[in-house]
C-alpha cells in the first residue's frame, strides 16, 4: 500500500487475489457486447474486464469535465454501478459500449456539477502531473504551464462545449459516437466543436492575461 499524495488515506495497490485479473479468464479479448452479456449473467471476470477496458476513459472524461480527480473517481464508481445493475438492458445494436458509458458518465458529471454550483479547486495532482524524465527542464516547465492553462480553460467552458471537446479532441471519440452520446445530430457535434475551439482560444488568452495574484488552483467550473 502507498500513501496518498494528500496524506489523508492509504491507497491499496491491490486488494486481494480474488479481486484479481480478468486476464486470467481470457475475458480481455472478448468484444464489449459479449462481456456485457456475461456481466448480466453474473460473470465477475467479465465485469472486471469491462472495468479494465473502459474505466480509464470514463475517469479521464469525468476529470476533465469536473476538474477534480476525486470527483471523477466517484463518477467512475457510479458508472460501473450502473453497468452492474443494468448490463442486461444494454443493446449493442443501438450504440457502442463506449457511447453508452460516456452517456452514463455525462449524466453523473452534469448531476454533480448542478448539485455543486460552486468553485471547484483543481486537484494539485492534476496541476502537477508528473512528466516523464526529459532532457529539457525549461521546455518541460513551459509545456506544463501551457497544459495547466489549457486544463483551466477547458474546465471554465460551458459544459455543452466542454463535453464535445473532451470527447472528440481528447478522447478520440468519433463524431458519430459523440452524437449518440449527446443525443444530437453529427452536424451539431461539428458546430459545437468549432465553437468550443474558438471559446478555448479566447479563454486561454484571458487566463494568460489574468493577474498572477489570482489563486492558481481555484477556478470556476462552468455548468
Amino acid at each position: 500500500m502507498a500513501r496518498d499524495d494528500s496524506g489523508t488515506f492509504w491507497r491499496p495497490d491491490a486488494i486481494t487475489p480474488q479481486m484479481g485479473d480478468a486476464a486470467d479468464s481470457g475475458a480481455c479479448t472478448m468484444p464489449d457486447a459479449e462481456l456485457m452479456r456475461r456481466t448480466a449473467a453474473g460473470d465477475r471476470s467479465a465485469f472486471a474486464a469491462l472495468y479494465q477496458r473502459h474505466s480509464a476513459s470514463v475517469y479521464r472524461f469525468a476529470r476533465l469535465m469536473i476538474g477534480s480527480a476525486s470527483a471523477a473517481e466517484d463518477v467512475v464508481q457510479e458508472v460501473f454501478l450502473v453497468v452492474m445493475r443494468d448490463a442486461s438492458r444494454f443493446d449493442a445494436a443501438r450504440a457502442s459500449l463506449s457511447s453508452y458509458l460516456y452517456g452514463v458518465a455525462r449524466h453523473h458529471t452534469r448531476r454533480r456539477l448542478l448539485r455543486q454550483r460552486r468553485f471547484v479547486a483543481l486537484d494539485p495532482r492534476d496541476a502537477t502531473h508528473e512528466a516523464a524524465a526529459d532532457h529539457d527542464p525549461a521546455g518541460d516547465l513551459l509545456r506544463a504551464s501551457e497544459l495547466r492553462r489549457l486544463r483551466r480553460a477547458i474546465v471554465a467552458m460551458p459544459s455543452r462545449y466542454r463535453e464535445v471537446l473532451v470527447m472528440c479532441e481528447l478522447q478520440d471519440v468519433s463524431y458519430a459516437d459523440a452524437a449518440l452520446t449527446l443525443g444530437c445530430a453529427i452536424g451539431t457535434v461539428r458546430s459545437r466543436l468549432h465553437r468550443a475551439r474558438e471559446l478555448l482560444k479566447t479563454k486561454m488568452r484571458r487566463i494568460e492575461a489574468q493577474s498572477p495574484s489570482v489563486h492558481a488552483s481555484s477556478i470556476r467550473c462552468a455548468i
Binding site: 448480466a40 497544459l147 488568452r205
Partner: protein
Amino acid sequence: MKPLDGHDELTATLRALRDEEAHIQPPACVRSAVLAAWDSADRGGLPRQSGEVAKAGTWRVAALAAGVALAVALTRLGGELQSAIVPPQALAAMVHLVGEPIADGEAVRVVRMRMAPAVLASLGIRSTAGELADAVDVDVIVGEDGVARAIRLGM
C-alpha cells in the same frame, strides 16, 4: 509564454494534453470499491437483471434493514458523543456484508478506500444527514478468502 493565436497551435496543445491524459488511470482503490460492490451484490445484494423482481425485493429489504441498523448505530453513537468523551476506536459503525460474522482472532485484512455515496447506498448504507456530496472514507474488512465481509465507517 507564447500566445495561442493560431489554429495549429491550439491543435498541437490539445494533442499534447491528449498524450498526457492517455497515461492517466483511476487509482486502484476505485477498482477495489467497484469490485467490492460486485462481490456484495453477488451474495444477495443488488439485482443485476431487470427481470429479477423477487431479488430486487429482497435487496430492498436487506438495504432497508442495513440502513435501519446503521441509523440505530449512528443515533446511539451520537448519544454517546453528547454524553461523554469516548475513545477514538469507538467512533465507528460496522456494517456486515456477507458470510459469517467476523470471529475474534480471525485473520482479516483492512483496506481503507473511498466510496462514492451511490456505492454505499447500493450496499444499504445511507447517511442520516441527507444526501452526501463527496466520497466517504471507509474501511473494508476482507476475509482470508478475499471476499469483502464488512464495512467499517468512521463517525
